[in-house]
Each structure stands twice: as structure tokens, then as C-alpha cells.
Symmetry: C2
Subunit: 286 residues, 2 copies
């Protein structure tokens, strides 16, 4: 039976808590034991009924677990792997929910030893759109994609289990290699976030920033929305995936330069041609 | 009575057609005479009942008008002013709906002569979010801001009339000088559009563009949405307002460089500080 399983949740935030709630509601998990730094988050989750017990350490949390979900900021992953490695049961499925994959896989490989075959790197494409506290909710992952990045050493039985588990909570698993994941996410998430943060910051530098922002309408609202994301998440993701972000940033700079030149030369023919192909591509997208 | 007024609509697209429909429904206008290049657009509007007669020229359209609305792309404004100037009645309110204001006002001043006192430059902050054909609808301007930019030569009676007219169709008039308008719109609209177009174009240059775009989620959807806007509108706006766009683009490049440097140096403290202030500003916005 699936529903007698114990989940160890390392990190008590929106992503992990929503997974725990969804897995319980889908009868994939019977009991969740949580561990979090800060400890207050685990206590809060216990009071909300998201976890049913609190562990004193990450190692204690995983010791009796059938499923381990590591839902901490990207830069904290290596220390979590190091802490849990000695205590991991030999049958536990181990997953993360980090926004980058190569560095997390590398850290898992380094710290988990033989247990690395039980690790399936996962990135659910869902989450909070604003910084600050958000309570978990069971349907966060419904109708969302989750990218799974198995390695050659991954035991196929664990990949199959991970696949079923995410499907059971309403997500659509997509299997990619970690390079494809990190390049793809750099293109459709990491670099747009960098640019949105930079855009807001550039406006803030203006002496009349308040007047400018007051004029923002629906276009500005959507373009800048992701600048409201959690800085403690993004300060980790950007450096971690910089080798994928930088070449794309170079391409964006070139595209900006090309439009700028056409604009300055009032070359409306060339300008329209560029805007036309960008516009058509955006309209054709999904 | 307000509702015995005749509206001359120059340009039969979403912006002008929606104004005509709204003004008729609000009993501000009794009869609309339309003129458009291409002529097929005016015929289409006639068949839809948006206009009640078709003029053979812009001058013919305005000859009997109480209100003239010029709703053509920014670069076509000067030729419209030149064409209508000799035929304008001495009591007609004249407005445009263009996305830039200084150059349009300058062209109006140059071509309208004494009738310039009847001209109130207007920019309703509403419109289509995707390129291609969109039928007009009467509530386009409801609960939207419309920026009015009177000049020192503007007759206050016409400003008052323009104000009442936009209010009557559900919009909120904001009075700004043309410099403030053009700088503000560069910041919250023109430059975001330039960057969104450039972003899409940079992705299209990638050999694996299709794979990258397939991974886009809600963040990418919102960030890139305005890249789907009409290239024939934007090829005019960007060159027209370039002197306001360029200094802001310079500031955005600097903000990108600063984030890039912190990212490359893995200076997560500085990076978090920048992202934190950008994020907080975005959360505090409206």
C-alpha cells in the first residue's frame, strides 16, 4: 500500500509543505516528519497539521523515511545531503525541488555515495510569485510540469516511483537531462528574473521613480511581476546557473543593441521586421 | 445636448472604434463619420455599425464634426493634421490617442495653426495586447487611465470638454505635461516593450529555440506577453520617443551589469541586497 509511507520533509516552506499536503491527500504518504532551519517553521507546519512530527535533525528526520523530499534553497542542498547521508534507509526515494539541477546532482553524487542511485533530481515548475510568507496548499502542483533529471546511476525503480508520485499529486513529469534543464530554465526563468529585477532596480535609481511607477499599467504589471519573487531563493539560483545564464544574457544584449540601432537610425523597416518576428513567435507560443 | 454631436473618426482600428462605440453608448455622440487608410477598415466599421457614414477623405470627415478623434499610428499623425487643417470647424474638439505626446503636439502645432487651441493631446492607457486584428468594444476604456497633455495655448474649454468626454466613457483623466508623459511611458511601457521584443528575438536566435520555449511557464508567459504586441504600432513609437528611452536603457544596462557582476563573483550578500530592494519595490507597487 502506498499510503503507509513516511515522508521526511527537509525544509518547511511553500514548496515542501504543498508537496506534503498533496501527497497525503493523494494517499501517497501516511505520516510526514519535518525538519527545518529555522525550527520555528517546522513547529508552524506541525501546528497546521502539514507534518505529524518534528525531527531534531535532518538525519533523524530521514532515518525512518520511505520518501525524502529536500526543499531548501539551492545553496543549502550540499550541507543537507552531507547531514542525511549516514542515516538514509536503503529503500528511501530521495528527491529535491531545486530550480537548478547540475550542481545539486553533483552535490548529491558527492555526499550520498551508494545512496545516489536512490536520488531523483526533481524541479516542479510551480511556486510562489511573491516574496514573503505563503502558506502551503495541496493543489500547488496540479496541472504543473515537474522536470525529473535521472542520471545513468539512477535506479530505474526510483525514477518510476518518483514519476508515479508526482503524477498522483496532479503534476506532469517531463524527463530531461540536467544540462537541458539548466539551459532551458536559464532561458525561460532565470534570465527573465534577472532582467525583471534589474529593470525594477534601474527605475528605483531614477530621481522621479515614484512618478514613473505611478504610470505603470497592465503591460508593466506583467513584465515586472517576477521581480517580486523571493530574493533569498534567487540570490542562490543566479550564481549557481551562471554558466548557462551568461551566454543567453550575451544574446539578449546583442538583440537589444540591434533594436536600439534600428531605433536610433529610425530604420522603421528593419525595426518592424525584428518586432514582427518576435511578436509572431510570442503569439505562436502555446 | 451632448448627444447630438458628430464624431469624426480618423483611423478605424481598435482604439478609435472602441472610443466611437463608448461615446455613442454614453450619449456623448449621435453620429460618427469615419475615414481610414485602408478604406476597407472604414467599410468594415460601417457594416459593424460603429460608424454611420464613410468620408471620402480625412478633410471631408472633419468638416461637419463637433469632435475629431485621430487614431492612427504615431508616424501617420503629421500627414493627418496637414490633411484636416483646412477643413476643421472652429468649434471642434480635436484629440489623438497616440502613445507618445511631444512629437504629436509639435506636429499639431505646426499644421493646425489657430485650431491648435482646440487640440488636446490624449493617451488612453489601454489597448490590445496582441498583434493582429481585434474588434473594437465599448468598455475598452472603462477603469483605465487617460493621460491628457494640454499646452499653454490650449483653450481651457476644450480641456474641460475632453476631460468630461473621457470620464463619460468610464476612463480616469490624468493631466501631465508632454515631457512627463513621454518619460513616464518610456519607463513603464516603451522600454519594457523593447526589452520583451529583444528577449523573444534573442531566444529565436538560439539553435534550440523550440526546446527552450517549450519549457516556459507562468513567469515567462507574463514577462514576455507584451512581445506579442503589434509591430506596426511599435516600429513608430520606439524611434519617436528614443530620446526618453535611451537614458533609461542606459540605466537598465548598468543595473544588469551590477547584478551580473555580483552573480559572477558569487557575492550572494550584494546580490540579495539588490534583489531585495527590487522585490520590495515591486511588492509595494499598487
Amino acid at each position: 500500500m502506498a499510503d503507509n509511507k513516511t515522508l521526511a520533509l527537509i525544509g518547511c516552506g511553500l514548496m515542501g509543505g504543498s508537496f506534503a499536503l498533496a501527497a497525503q491527500q493523494a494517499h501517497q504518504v501516511h505520516h510526514t516528519i519535518g525538519y527545518s532551519v529555522p525550527h520555528a517553521s517546522a513547529h508552524h507546519f506541525y501546528e497546521l497539521g502539514i507534518i505529524q512530527s518534528i525531527a531534531a535533525s535532518a538525519a533523524e528526520a530521514v532515518a525512518q523515511a520511505d520518501i525524502v523530499l529536500i526543499a531548501v534553497p539551492v545553496a543549502s542542498m550540499p550541507s543537507v545531503f552531507a547531514a542525511i547521508a549516514p542515516a538514509l534507509p536503503d529503500h528511501a526515494l530521495i528527491m529535491d525541488v531545486g530550480s537548478t539541477k547540475r550542481s545539486i546532482i553533483q552535490a548529491a553524487q558527492h555526499h550520498l555515495g551508494a545512496r545516489f542511485s536512490q536520488f531523483i533530481a526533481a524541479h516542479p515548475i510551480a511556486g510562489k510569485e511573491k516574496a514573503g510568507h505563503s502558506e502551503p496548499f495541496a493543489h500547488l502542483y496540479q496541472n504543473k510540469n515537474v522536470i525529473l533529471c535521472p542520471e545513468s546511476q539512477s535506479n530505474p525503480a526510483y525514477l518510476k516511483q518518483a514519476h508515479s508520485l508526482w503524477q498522483a499529486i496532479g503534476a506532469t513529469p517531463i524527463i530531461l537531462d540536467a544540462d537541458q534543464h539548466d539551459r532551458g530554465l536559464a532561458a525561460v526563468s532565470h534570465l527573465p528574473h534577472l532582467l525583471a529585477f534589474a529593470y525594477m532596480d534601474a527605475l528605483l535609481q531614477q530621481p522621479d521613480a515614484t512618478d514613473l511607477l505611478a504610470l505603470g499599467g497592465p503591460g508593466f504589471r506583467d513584465f515586472s511581476r517576477i521581480a517580486g519573487c523571493d530574493p533569498t531563493i534567487w540570490r542562490d539560483i543566479l550564481p549557481d546557473n551562471q554558466d548557462q545564464i551568461l551566454p543567453l544574457l550575451h544574446a539578449v544584449r546583442q538583440a537589444i543593441d540591434t533594436i536600439e540601432n534600428a531605433m536610433m537610425q529610425r530604420d522603421t523597416t528593419q525595426l518592424e521586421a525584428i518586432l514582427q518576428r518576435a511578436s509572431q513567435a510570442r503569439i505562436n507560443w502555446k
